[in-house]
């Protein structure tokens, strides 16, 4: 676990509920567009279905497909002294944060996340680049446990 920092090592996947919570978020996010398209449809400016059909298709793709690919692209690896976060499908990013550099830690829960018992762990460092590294899709208990583990490493928060 200690010096395992190579690709090809198993990444821990996020909790499956993450897909569901993303879907709910996308549902809420696309709702205004669907309603707007419905409104235009009722106004009847263009032939029937020219607004609602493409909008519904895009929304459906965003709700069904995007969360799944996102979930599959993400993962993390909790080491004894570092956390590795991998994300992105097209633009891949692979970040390693040593616990010794963590300034403070947030466990964040949005309303949707709370509904699914999930949380986002945010590690703040002093760097300008990657000042905060976010890891969403953890169960709340896991996130808290990770926070405690990391905090045990951070001897003093001041620099």
């Amino acid at each position: 676990m200690q010096q395992s920092d190579r690709d090809g090592d198993e990444l821990t996947p996020l909790h499956p509920n993450y897909v569901k919570s993303l879907r709910v978020s996308w549902l809420i996010g696309t709702l205004p567009f669907v309603i707007g398209a419905l409104g235009l449809e009722v106004a009847g400016v263009l032939p029937r279905g020219s607004f609602i059909v493409p909008v519904l298709l895009v929304a459906l793709y965003a709700i069904v497909r995007v969360p799944l690919t996102r979930y599959q692209a993400r993962g993390y690896q909790m080491g004894g002294d570092r956390l590795r976060v991998v994300r992105g499908l097209l633009f891949r990013s692979d970040t390693v944060v040593p616990f010794g550099r963590v300034q403070h830690i947030d466990v964040h829960q949005g309303p949707v996340e709370r509904g699914y018992g999930l949380a986002t762990l945010v590690l703040h460092t002093a760097g300008n680049h990657n000042a905060s590294v976010r890891l969403p899709g953890l169960t709340h208990d896991d996130a808290v446990a990770m926070r405690e583990h990391i905090r045990a490493h951070v001897k003093r928060e001041t620099m």
Partner: protein, 487 residues
Amino acid sequence: MGLRNAILPVIAVLFGSRNWDGAGMAILPILGAVLLLSLGGGWLVWRKTRYRLGESDVRIEGGIINRTARSVPYERIQDVSLEQKLLPRLLGLVEVKFETGAGGKDELKLAFVTEAEGAALREAVRERRDGVRTGPLSESEGSLAPETRTLFAMDLRRLVTFGLFEFSLVVFAVVAGAAQQFDFLLPFDVWDADKWMELLAGPGHWIAGLGIATQAIAVSIALAAFSILGLVTGLSRTVLRDYGFRLEETPKGLRRRRGLLTRTDVLMPVHRVQALAVTTGIVRRRLGWHALEVVSLSQDATSGSHVVVPFAQMEEIAPVVTVAGFALPGPEMSWHRPSPKYHFDNAAMGVSVLAAAALAAGLLGTLLPFLAPMAQIAQGVFVLLAGFSAVREYFLWRHDRHAIDGRHVFVSRGWLAPRLDIASRLKLQTVEIRQGPIARRRGYANLDFGVAGGALGMHGIPLETAREIRAAVIETLARVDFSRLPG
């Protein structure tokens, strides 16, 4: 303070009363009242502002109606700087700034205290922060003096040389901006091209009638005027900023003093230096002139300039680098270059985009014959740019390089004015490997480091190298806890 605030109302009164009859009678009392109010206000603000050095924090209380009391723990103060603008300088006052890393408006300021008090305040804050002594404030500045050593200073000759390289045409931007603001004062509309054409070739033909030789002389005079103005601007800006530049090594860190009218005095604790950058310019590089900048925690986006050596040869910079706890790359350093694929792809992208633009311009020229001359010019420009970008990428591939040794990460990047970044491996915060869609197919990656107060990255290096460097750097990072760093 108060007087400065009174300037605007006074102008407003003078301006507003232009058209009054018997204005003189009314103005004097109003002016008196404004002055009295602002002076009184200033006095009240001064009365109500006070500061205290507590056991663990600095407190500043202020405000007449809304009282605010701000407290900043000593550990959070990254730096204390003293600033003197012209007027306070004449009166022997300084403004004390406590840099906390909050940046901008949230910085803690204390304006104004006397010079001696400012210096004592700074000493006290530093001592308490570093936990050297927590006793009462003592007047022991003199005892520190023998330990200070001048690392770099600029005499007038150097300053002038530096100023000549700081050639700047910013004054023309200012003039143009002013012309736009105050164009109602000008006899004609400056932005009206027809008027200019008329002047150049209009009914009078007076410029056209001057003959080739005279025209050539006029053009050379105009060019000479431009360059002289640019030189003078650069020179005066440099002298104003860097007059009496002096960098000293003190037991508390690097101390920098500079400025002609606004004199600043900044102290940078050495252990807070995160990274160094050696920069240069297109022309001055040929003569071996470089500058050294410090990236430190207290550096926020606005106060950017932490130049510790503005203009020097490398052998003058080397000792400062050593004092800051870093090392310049030696001749035996094994440098690595980015993947040729990265620069090839960049060049291919740039060239294809520009070639497409050239093609489009050519097409436009054939479709709309009246645009043909313009289209031809545009086409030529695009083709030139394409060639330029290809040459540039080739050059960058030849010259961009990076290296790591036991303690440092070195990255040298840039074409005409290359920049060398030196970061301490121990002080990196995060390491990220990034790949876009093309990069993934072609097997290279960007390696970006999180640095407090700056950015550092190796771009387009082979993925395998990126992984190796990251593994090595993370090993060093994880071994040493940040809060237990030496210093």
